[in-house]
Structure formats: C-alpha cells, structure tokens
C-alpha cells in the first residue's frame, strides 16, 4: 500500500459529458485533484506536466485508443511507472484478462457510478505495492 493517500488523478476521455461527470465525481465526492485530458495524442506530455498518482484511460477513443496510448506510456520514462486503470464499456472476461495482461492495475466498467468511483479507485490504490 502506497504511503500517501490517493489524490492526483489524470483521466483521458474524449466524451465531454463524461469528462464533466467524472470531474464532479472525483472533485466533489472524492475530494481529489483532477486533470482531464480530451486528446489522447497530447496525453503523455500533459501527464508529465501534471504528475498524477494514478491514470484513468478510456478504452475506445478516436485517433488513438486506450491500449495504444497505454503501450506508448510504457515506452516513456516519465510515464512508464504510472499505475493505469481502464474505464471501458467492454466487460467480458476475455477483454478484462487482456487488460491485466497489458499491465493495467484495474478495470472499471461503463457506465460507472459517480458516487462510487472515488471509492473504487481508492480500493485499487490500497492494493498497490
């Protein structure tokens, strides 16, 4: 379990409505500091600047999907160590296994509950080394 509490979250998501809900959920319910990134191609630079504790990635996005971005992050020293949680509308076991194989620390299925989301992330955070 990491020594500090979970505070800084980076969420890469192209849908503006969901961005707004996630921000309200994490800031108002979870009392966390949030950086929403709408363009996945600019995500790595934004993450390097924001220095989050944990990254949330949407799976299906235009221009670059979640898994591709995740692999790109692993190539870069400034983002390779960041824990990643996927948020996806896909929910089959095979697909979730695929995510774990990629090295994701967790998966949350869409639609997520904004009242539950901060707690779900804290549970994942607590299990990290």
């Amino acid at each position: 379990m990491p020594s500090r509490p979970l505070n800084r979250i980076c969420y890469v998501e192209d849908d503006e409505d969901i961005q707004r809900i996630a921000r309200l959920s994490l800031e108002r319910v979870g009392k966390m500091t949030v950086e929403i990134i709408g363009d996945p191609t600019a995500a790595i630079a934004a993450m390097a600047a924001f220095r989050p504790d944990l990254v949330l990635l949407d799976w299906m996005m235009p221009r670059m999907d979640g898994p591709t971005l995740f692999r790109a992050m692993k190539q870069r020293p400034e983002t390779s160590a960041l824990p990643v949680v996927f948020i996806t509308a896909k929910a089959s076991q095979v697909e979730l296994d695929e995510l774990t194989a990629l090295g994701a620390v967790g998966a949350i299925s869409k639609p997520f509950s904004p009242t539950e989301l901060p707690n779900q992330l804290r549970e994942i955070w607590a299990k990290l080394p």
Partner: protein, 604 residues
C-alpha cells in the same frame, strides 16, 4: 433376408439330388409293388394255359383208364384254376395292393406251389401206368409247363423255384424209383435241368428288378427336377422384382439430388468430380461438364486453401468417417465467392475401400453475413448505448446524492424516477447482451471455488436496498444462520451473483407489502441447493411452461406493474446450466413460489 434363405435351400436340394445314387432315389417298396403287379398282370395266361392243357391231358388220360384218379386230378385242376382266378380277382379289387405287396407275393407263392404240385401229381400218378407214347406226352407236358413258368414268374425267381419244384420233385422221385436205368439217368438229369432253369429265372429277376428300380429312380429324378425348376422360376421372379425395386429407388435418389436446392457432388477417392446436380451448377455458376472429370480443388477451392484441402481430404479417405458442418469459402465461375456448409460422406464397400464421396453443400453466405451484422450491431449497442447512459445515469446519481446541493422535494422525486428508469434501460441492455453472448456461445465463465453461503450473504447485502423499496424483508433460514457447513462449489462467482440477484429481486417484486422472502441453502446428496421462497400470488398455471423463455412475463396487470426485462430467468437458467446446475420452481397459484437452483458440491 428371406430371399437369401430360399436360395440356400435350393442349392442344398439340388446338390443332394444330383449327387445321390439311383438306389437312394428308388423306393424299394414301390419297386416290389411293381414286380408283384407284373406277376399278377400275366397270371391270366397261366390260368388259361393250366385250364386248357389240363383239359387236353384229362382227355388223353381218360382214354387209358384209372378214371377215378383222372376225375380227381381234373377236379384238382379246376380247383387250382378257380382259386388262382379268385386270387387274381381279389388282387385286382384291392385298393391298397401296393402297400401290401409282400402279402400278395406270399399268396401268389402259395398259388404257384399248388399249381406246380398239381402238375407234379399228374406226372407221379400217371407216368408209371401208361404206355411209352403217353409217357413221352407226359414228359413233354411237364417240361413244357416248367419252361413256360420262366417268363410267367420271371419277376420273382423264388416263385418260379417253388412252382418248378412242385412239378419236378414228385416226377423225379417216380423216375428214380421206376427201376429202369434210362429213367434213373433222367431222374439225375432233371434236377440239373431244374437248377439251370432257376438260375435263368434268377438272372431274369435281377434284370427286371434293375429295370423297375431304374424306372422309379427316373420318375423321382424328373419329379426332383421339376420341383427345382419351379423354385428357380420363383427365385428368378423375386430377383426381377428386387431389381425393379433397386431401379426405382435409384431413380428416386437421383430425383432427390436433381431437384434438391443444395449442391450435391459425387467424387471418387482421388477427389475427381464424377457427377454434379443442377443445384451445384447454379451455386457455383459452372456447367456440369466444366467440373466433372476434374479435381474439385482446381475449381471450387481457393488457391491459398488447397494445401489445407489436401490434408483434410487425406484424413477423410483415411478415416472413412463422414464430416459435417464444414464451412468453406469457394470461388464461383464469375469471380465472386460463396461460403458453403458441407456434409461430406465417404461411401465404403464391404471390403473397406472408399468407392465414392458424396459432398452436399448449402450456401450459407447470407447467413454468415447476417451473423456478422448481428455481431456488429451488438458491439455498437454495447458501446453507443452505454456511453450516453453513463452521462445520463451519472448526472442523475450526482444530483440525487446531494453533493451538488439540496433539491426541492418535487425535483428530487423526479430525478429519482429518471435515475431508476435509466438503470432499467441499462439492465435491459445488459440482459440483451448477455442472452446474445450465451446463445452465440461467446459467454465464457471464470469458475473458482467459493462458499455458497458467503455468496448468498453477499447477494442479500447487494439487494437489500431493492427489497426495502418494495417493503420486503429477506430472511435466511436457520441452517445458514447457525454455525454453517461451508457448501463449497466450483462456479463463476460473478455470474452466480447475477442469478441470485435475479431470484431475490423477483421474490421481492412479487411479495406482498411487509412480506418476507425466505432464503435457504441445503445439501441434497452430492449437490447444494439454494431456494428463494416468496409469499406472492404464485405463478399462473398457463404461464409455468414458458417461464424460462425469453421476454417471459405473466400476462397480468399485476406483473406488468412490477416491470423487469423478462430476460432474467432465461439468462439465469442458461447460466446455471453452464455451471452443471439445475434450476426450477414450485408454485401454487395464490400460495407463493419457491425458485431454486442447485450445483454439484465441490469436495476439496
């Protein structure tokens, strides 16, 4: 089967008939009857001869004297002739003379002996007392009578031997005791003469016997052959009928292939096409002549699939087992491609050699396209419907949670209604996706070992809020309230939780206000059963048969008010069955319902 048996019997009959000897064919009783018949047949000759010669001899002896004796002898002649004629008459009248041939033969023997003895008596009595001329007459008479007996009694030499002995024995005695040297010499010669005559009669009897036997054997043989002939004719008739049947079913079969809407190809063991039906011509756009005589792979297998085709073909010929549901993409003559589902059946002769391969192909191109579109649709449904729902339900949840500030009561009630219905929509989408996945075989389970008691408790916690909405209480039966057995099972925990949620929410929905839903976990043999009992209205009789069907909801206003997707039980049944479980219910209309499922117990 019956035809085979019949032909077997024919073979047996003919072999026995042809290899058996004449001796076996001629019935000895019938041969004897024929000989006896011949003897009686010429008896009238003997009777007439005895009477006529007897009359002449009497006339001759009468002139010489000893008239008392002559009269007595003439009386004997008449008696013997009359008795013999009576015997002949009786024989002719007898209906069963053939069966008692040996008896008639004995009577004839007695008659022959009496006849012979009568002549012997004449010789013995009249020879000594007469003149030389009359003695010559007598000797001539007796010799003639004896010789005449040969043809008459030829059919039975003992008969002749008796007859001739009757003549010769007294005469020889008289000659031998006459005291005349010449007569004594004649007396010595007569037995030799007798023996020669009997020997001739014996030979004749043999010849007659063989002749009659041959006649009978021939008759029997003719009879056998006519029976054999009749059987052969019947067999030929049956064979002809069988041939017609085979021909008719052959015509029927080729008609089936010709009119069938599927492609039918006949190939040899090397994969060369020998016949195609119009269905195949239509499907692939080739004329029959363009395919027949060629390797099927040259025409109907894509170049990149030919190596794989060769491998599978070799396997088919090796195993000689039919292959079905084989989907293959094939090029048409016009360059388009079709996907066919093939059933390939090797025809094997009794020696185990593949003599032909029948391939039946059905065009499934459109079906596959439809399946692909359905999959695409499902994937779109999954993503495109969930994304806006995330926004809708998320927004409402945030508003209803109160973190954004307090609401007036009316607004609060309405946003709660909106959130609840958004969730229902999401449930429906999830259920639809689940049933689609299950039915297309794409749902995979993640089984693990866990305690069913723990799972039930977890389900109760998750569904408590739902129950409270219907003012219903969940109650665990005492068996798992006390120190419980573990009830371990090997199943997909998440999916089983889904099943439990379904049964619990059904129980809550159909319970009366303030009611309880009882949950029990019990071991039944090698299985563990979870039951959920409500005190609701029960399931209408007419609905029970389709309760596990898709979109099943009892058609009553009461249940319509309860909402739900109508897919929950259908999904639950399929999920439980995928985990080697059973699901069922007991219900009395008006008396509550118990839904249950059981799973195999897991013993570590």
């Amino acid at each position: 089967m019956s035809q085979v048996a019949a032909s077997d019997s024919v073979v047996r009959v003919s072999e026995r008939g042809l290899s058996a000897g004449i001796r076996d064919r001629a019935d000895p009783r019938l041969v004897l009857a024929d000989r006896v018949d011949q003897l009686y047949g010429q008896m009238w000759l003997g009777i007439v001869a005895t009477f006529a010669i007897g009359a002449i001899a009497t006339f001759e002896f009468w002139s010489v004297g000893l008239r008392d004796l002559v009269l007595f002898w003439w009386g004997l002649v008449l008696l013997v002739t009359a008795a013999t004629a009576g015997l002949l008459y009786a024989y002719r009248r007898s209906a069963d003379r053939a069966e008692h041939a040996d008896q008639w033969l004995r009577w004839l023997g007695i008659a022959a002996l009496a006849n012979g003895a009568n002549w012997g008596f004449a010789g013995a009595v009249f020879f000594p007392s007469h003149t030389d001329e009359q003695q010559v007459f007598l000797a001539f008479l007796l010799t003639g009578m004896m010789s005449g007996g040969i043809p008459l009694y030829a059919a039975s030499w003992p008969m002749f031997a008796l007859y001739a002995a009757g003549i010769v024995a007294p005469f020889t005695y008289v000659l031998g005791t006459f005291g005349n040297r010449l007569f004594t010499e004649i007396a010595l010669l007569v037995p030799i003469f007798y023996a020669v005559n009997v020997a001739v009669a014996y030979r004749l009897t043999q010849v007659f016997h063989a002749g009659y036997r041959l006649r009978h054997a021939y008759g029997k043989l003719t009879e056998d052959y006519s029976v054999l002939n009749q059987r052969l004719e019947r067999q030929l008739g049956e064979l002809e009928q069988a041939r017609r049947q085979v021909e008719a079913s052959g015509r029927k079969l080729s008609l089936f292939a010709e009119r069938a809407p599927i492609a039918v190809l006949e190939l040899d063991a090397q994969g060369i096409v020998t016949q195609v039906n119009p269905g195949a011509e239509l499907l692939f756009g080739y004329a029959g002549a363009e395919i027949v005589g060629r390797q099927i792979k040259d025409r109907l297998v894509l170049p990149e699939l030919r190596a794989e085709f060769d491998r599978q073909w070799a396997q088919l010929i090796e195993s000689r087992e039919p292959v079905s549901a084989l989907k293959v993409r094939s090029p048409r003559r016009d360059g388009l491609q079709v996907v066919c589902e093939w059933t390939v059946t090797p025809l094997v002769n009794p020696e185990g050699t593949v003599i032909a391969v029948i391939a039946q192909g059905q065009d499934v191109t459109r079906q596959l396209e439809a399946e692909r579109m359905k999959k695409e649709f499902t994937s779109t449904l999954s993503h495109e419907l969930r994304t806006p729902l995330t926004s809708i339900i998320g927004s409402l949840q945030l508003i209803n949670s109160g973190v954004l500030g307090d609401l007036t009561q009316d607004i609060g009630e309405l946003t709660a209604v909106a959130e609840r219905n958004g969730s229902r929509l999401l449930d429906l989408i999830n259920d639809l996706l689940d049933i689609e996945k299950i039915e297309s075989g794409k749902l995979t389970l993640a089984p693990e070992v866990f305690s069913l008691n723990d799972l039930v408790r977890e389900a109760l916690v998750l569904n408590r809020a739902f129950a409270e909405r219907f003012k219903v209480r969940f109650e665990i039966s005492s068996e798992i309230a006390g120190p419980p057995p573990e009830h371990k099972v090997h199943a997909d925990r998440k999916r089983l939780l889904q099943v439990m949620t379904n049964l619990l929410s059904n129980g809550a929905k159909f319970s009366p206000d303030g009611g309880t839903v009882e949950i029990a976990v019990r071991e039944r043999g090698r299985r563990v059963r979870v039951s959920v009992h409500d005190r609701g209205p029960g399931i209408p009789e007419a609905f029970r048969g389709r309760i596990f069907g898709r979109f099943a909801q009892a058609d009553s206003t009461a249940s319509r008010q309860k909402s739900g997707t109508g897919l929950g039980l259908a999904i639950s049944k399929r999920l439980v069955e995928m985990m080697q479980g059973h699901i069922g219910f007991e219900s009395r209309e008006g008396g509550g319902t118990t839904f249950w499922f059981d799973l195999p117990r897991h013993d570590s």
